[in-house]
Amino acid sequence: MAKPARPRKKAPTAETGESEAGGSGFALRSLQDNLASNRRYEASDEELLHFYEQMLLIRRFEEKAGQLYGLGLIGGFCHLYIGQEAVAVGLQSALRAGLDSVITGYRDHGHMLAYGIDPRVIMAELTGRQAGISKGKGGSMHMFSTEHAFYGGHGIVGAQVPLGAGLAFAHKYRGDGGVCLSYFGDGASNQGQVYETFNMASLWQLPIIFVIENNQYAMGTAVKRSSAETHFHRRGTAFRIPGLDVNGMDVLEVRRAAEIALEHVRGGNGPVLMELNTYRYRGHSMSDPAKYRSREEVQEVREKRDPIEAARHDLLERGIDEARLKEIDKAIRARVAEAADFAETSPEPDPAELYTDVLVSAY
């Protein structure tokens, strides 16, 4: 495997920014130190059960989406979130619903589910039906919910980063206290616009958290083949953006890190850069020759670091009854099956929809 997701050993001086940071007492490592002092969020049993349930919903939903794709009911590109569930669930659980905004790329089903958006309208978008969240016009990569302050669903790698800064700019402009979470991949991290955005966000102290979901690969390219600096959380250093290196396979660590980051940003201290180390189990999209990594590598992560298995283990350790987990599992399967049924039986968009929504007004 390219890089272990567990905390790495590093030279303690490498990214200490104090000396150049001026008199503000600003330290690029301060957030990381805070996380190191206490890595896991102390969740109540009910909270952890809820996280488990949400992660499982994403997993089962995505499995079903893969299945519907294989049956020809979903077309085009379809990027599954399997393996990365703890990232969206842990981070989104720390947000204030309806206030904080979220934006991501094309691998977006999980983020929407973590937001509590109805799986039926997501699945119906995947099958391209009128009842889909974008009326069937967007598809897997292009889903949005302004109601949930979820701003998409973007197909161009890296585009969501400055767009996220724009959302943060709007929060600041309005003074509403909201924070934007902009998610992007390890591959996207090499786009120039990311660094243009880092500079502006830091310069203007925008309330944004940059979330790099480092799943170790961009399509078939392992991070070390595309990136001179593979410790992505350090990439804000030149812009004085503090970084956090987080195990993205542990939902409680993700949640704890989210709270640290949010506290910093909400305190008016400008952006934070989080690197969530995670892993994508499935192919990049549906067609993926899978020649760039070994089966054993994937199997190893599945067996040893699976975020859902870990949460399940934690729950059982806490003495939660296994029957309760079985109940949850069953309920989720039913929900997903229902979403799939809904998505298969809903009608396609009316042909007249072809020309609607091009403009808010009309030509």
Partner: protein, 451 residues
Amino acid sequence: MAIELKMPALSPTMEEGTLAKWLVKEGDEVRSGDILAEIETDKATMEFEAVDEGTITSLVIPAGTEGVKVGAVIATLDGDGAAASPAPAARVEPAPQPAPATPAPRGEDAAPVLRSDPSVPEGAAMAVLTVREALRDAMAEEMRSDSRVFVMGEEVAEYQGAYKVTQGLLEEFGPQRVIDTPITEYGFAGLGTGAAMGGLRPIVEFMTFNFAMQAIDHIVNSAAKTNYMSGGQMRCPVVFRGPNGAAARVGAQHSQNYAPWYASVPGLVVIAPYDSADAKGLLKAAIRSEDPVVFLENELVYGRSFPVPDIADWVLPIGKARVVRQGADVTIVSYSIGVGMALEAAETLAGEGIDAEVLDLRTLRPLDRAAVLESLARTNRLIVAEEAWPQCSIASEVIAICMEDGFDLLDAPVLRVCDADVPLPYAANLEKLALLNPARIVEAARKVCYR
């Protein structure tokens, strides 16, 4: 509970594949996520994963079977009741809508009515190649003969190309000349342009031209204008290539045809071939050109096979259109994937007694005005079929040519048949309505023939 496992569609355009290998046998217990089989398409070998849990009861299709249709039952599984999801077994009827994974062929079945290219030497042997192979061969031949030529882009080397166009190049030419880039289009397009200024011959592959929008400043401002601004001192012999236009169901941000954009820029050469012979001959010409070339391919055409002259150095002139079907009643002008649809439309029209000529522009800048006007002089009626938005399109330009220099030849107004003037929708039915198709070409041809 018995669950049927069906041949999956693993890419937007896959219709059938080879069941290369089973990784399980009858009686095996499988869990969700286990790899069951390896499936091959013309693009790649892919793994087929289990979604349901249970015991494999039978392997219906033996390993090594070719041409297994998407949706065919390949194995059965005895699902363990509670955990297994019932969906696939229950669904025996076809989906209510036309299955999106096997999109209407959109012209793919058109019988290639190929007239010999004027530049094919008499009696030359023909080899049948896919467009994908023709493009690869063109690059390989030029790389063999000119050490300044190199290829760079996302996934071009180790992955063998996102659409497998650069397959085998890394193996033959090594990592110094076949270079995987980070996802930094603006950066590597600029770097490629600079390398051309510095005396090399870069081929810059964009995974698709949708992503070249990140880099368009270098294509237009750095590559196209340099020769002029330097008074002819500084050249920029770079080729920007990759798939352009709509694929299948990939939505608005991945489906645009940029031909009209680049074709509007003085200082660029813009090529958009349809078949394998033109793809090879024109890509070789592009690589040899002293000027910056934008070379627009089409993903849906990559897998189609056409004859290519089997001669040592098949190079075609840039800037020449080609009559791919002769006719007397109406001219259908097109390029790229539109040519296949125009040929199909011409077949239909022939059945109705309308003899259509099909002109493939092949190069969009410089545009072969003479060929358009010559064909118009023969037929006196002309339509343009273009898979692009209508406003400010190549079609608009061809119409302008007819108005400026062919007005007296016209027996009917020139019509254009383009995509719907909307961002491309994802839904299968809307996508079909939005895109160019042979039926609409036929309709326009009838109209100008007053039939």
